[in-house]
Symmetry: C2
Subunit: 283 residues, 2 copies
């Protein structure tokens, strides 16, 4: 089926998920929306994140996408079920696939989670893990410096290694054997993280696991692309695309040839009444 | 005159301005509002920052403040004139006093500015400096890691010194003699900054200069407190006060005994029609 896959994120981090999609599903067309005007989502209320997620999804849905990926951890935590209820296409976030992979990997049943303060404080990963298996021991570490370090591009820098040691040695000390990278920025410094924690600890890239899950869904539902040529990709952002284009290669693994700013305010005014209806379910 | 001074900021950083107010004006009562639910302001549009500033000011104005300080750099850059037109009391930001002090200090007429990416990209300080004296050479450096470093409390840490060197050595190399700390978080690591740049460079704390300006305004207008007892202070925030209270001492120089969450949404609904009117002037 030649319809695009839609991916949205609060900003640029979701490009690491796109990178994995290109790897696992090279023939699929991809449409990405980065809500750079309203970043960050993690500090917003649950209700507002749900509203944003509905709006972002509606924006992508107008292009006739066949599947939606919520690449943003904050939106994945609260809005995937709502989106699945609202849209007629399959929807997946990044938390469920990340958790499933970690549970499969961890022999000691001791899992570490790293993410932004917002993700860690939301307990989104812990809750999911306990739903599967309440006997798992979970150790969380918020790492607020890693996002700005990645965005500065200090990927192989002494400052980054020292910061990673400060955050990760407490996790190593409690004898975990698996760490979930609970932030889409973190795969960019995956090698540095692996160096610091050593090879006995398995790192789980939630975006990579999401891409593998999408591959399975497309096959199961028989909606995978049958094209032999490489898929196309298109990037939309809600604010000036300058920084997105400039540092995007770090996340995508290839240059972001062009990103288009969309007039999201106008889109919302036109779509508003339709969009806000489902929210009443939760009021 | 026994009326409080109002101070607002997008979050916690403005407490460094309160610290200076307590130092210079120990007998004044202070009312602080930190808009922690809507932080950061710097990434928002100019129109939205103006709207937030009007709302924050209206919140403080209902307590009968005699003067308003815009402690947030982003709001200082775009909203001080609008607030001055809207309110019946004197209003000051942090940019104008910081710029004035830097112009007085710099012998070489070569000034460095450090701040968040939003403040640096807005060119707010440069524009003000060029209004005063177009012959000044200005060198800007955005320092996105410093806010999270301060909030993590890594004040005297190797990571902080290495990061400061990375940001500040390029400024030293272009022979500036004065640096404006264009972010209210930065005075918290003032000593580390001074150590890195050496004693030949003068650091300007915009918040301190704002406090000195307020002292002058109160005297000139004959509205300074005549009380001999120490003033009181009260802190309001628009989100959960947990982190504000917890790390506030680092900014204030004394414990934040209590911060009260206000139901800002309800306040806005009640005040809304009154508040949004002045904005039409700018549409």
């Amino acid at each position: 089926m030649r319809k695009p896959i839609g991916i949205f994120d609060s900003g640029i981090g979701g490009l690491t998920v796109v990178k994995q999609l290109i790897h696992f599903l090279p023939n699929e067309d991809l449409l990405y929306f980065g809500d750079t005007a309203r970043i960050p989502y993690g500090t917003k209320s649950e209700k507002l994140i749900k509203q944003y997620a509905l709006e972002d999804a509606a924006f992508l849905d107008q292009f006739g996408i066949k599947l939606l990926i919520v690449a943003c951890n904050s939106a994945s935590a609260v809005a995937v079920d709502l989106l699945q209820m609202t849209l007629d296409i399959p929807v997946t976030g990044v938390i469920f696939p990340g958790v499933e992979a970690a549970l499969n990997e961890s022999k000691l049943k001791r899992i570490g989670i790293v993410g932004t303060s917002a993700t860690i404080n939301s307990n989104a990963y812990n809750k999911r893990i306990f739903e599967f298996d309440p006997s798992i021991k979970v150790f969380s570490q918020s790492c607020p410096l890693l996002v700005p370090l990645v965005e500065e591009g200090w990927l192989d820098d002494e400052i980054t290694y020292l910061t990673l040691k400060k955050y990760l040695i407490p996790l190593i000390d409690v004898n975990i054997d698996t760490i979930i990278l609970g932030c889409t920025h973190f795969p960019v410094i995956r090698e540095a993280i692996q160096t610091v924690v050593g090879n006995n600890i398995t790192l789980i890239d939630s975006g990579k696991e999401a891409a593998k899950l999408v591959q399975k869904i497309l096959t199961d539902l028989k909606i995978a692309s049958q094209e032999e040529s490489r898929g196309t990709f298109k990037f939309f952002v809600s604010d000036d695309p300058g920084k997105f284009t400039e540092i995007g290669e770090r996340f995508l693994g290839q240059p972001v040839i062009s990103a288009q700013r969309v007039d999201f305010d106008t889109f919302l005014i036109e779509q508003g009444p339709k969009l806000y209806k489902p929210l009443n379910l939760y009021d």
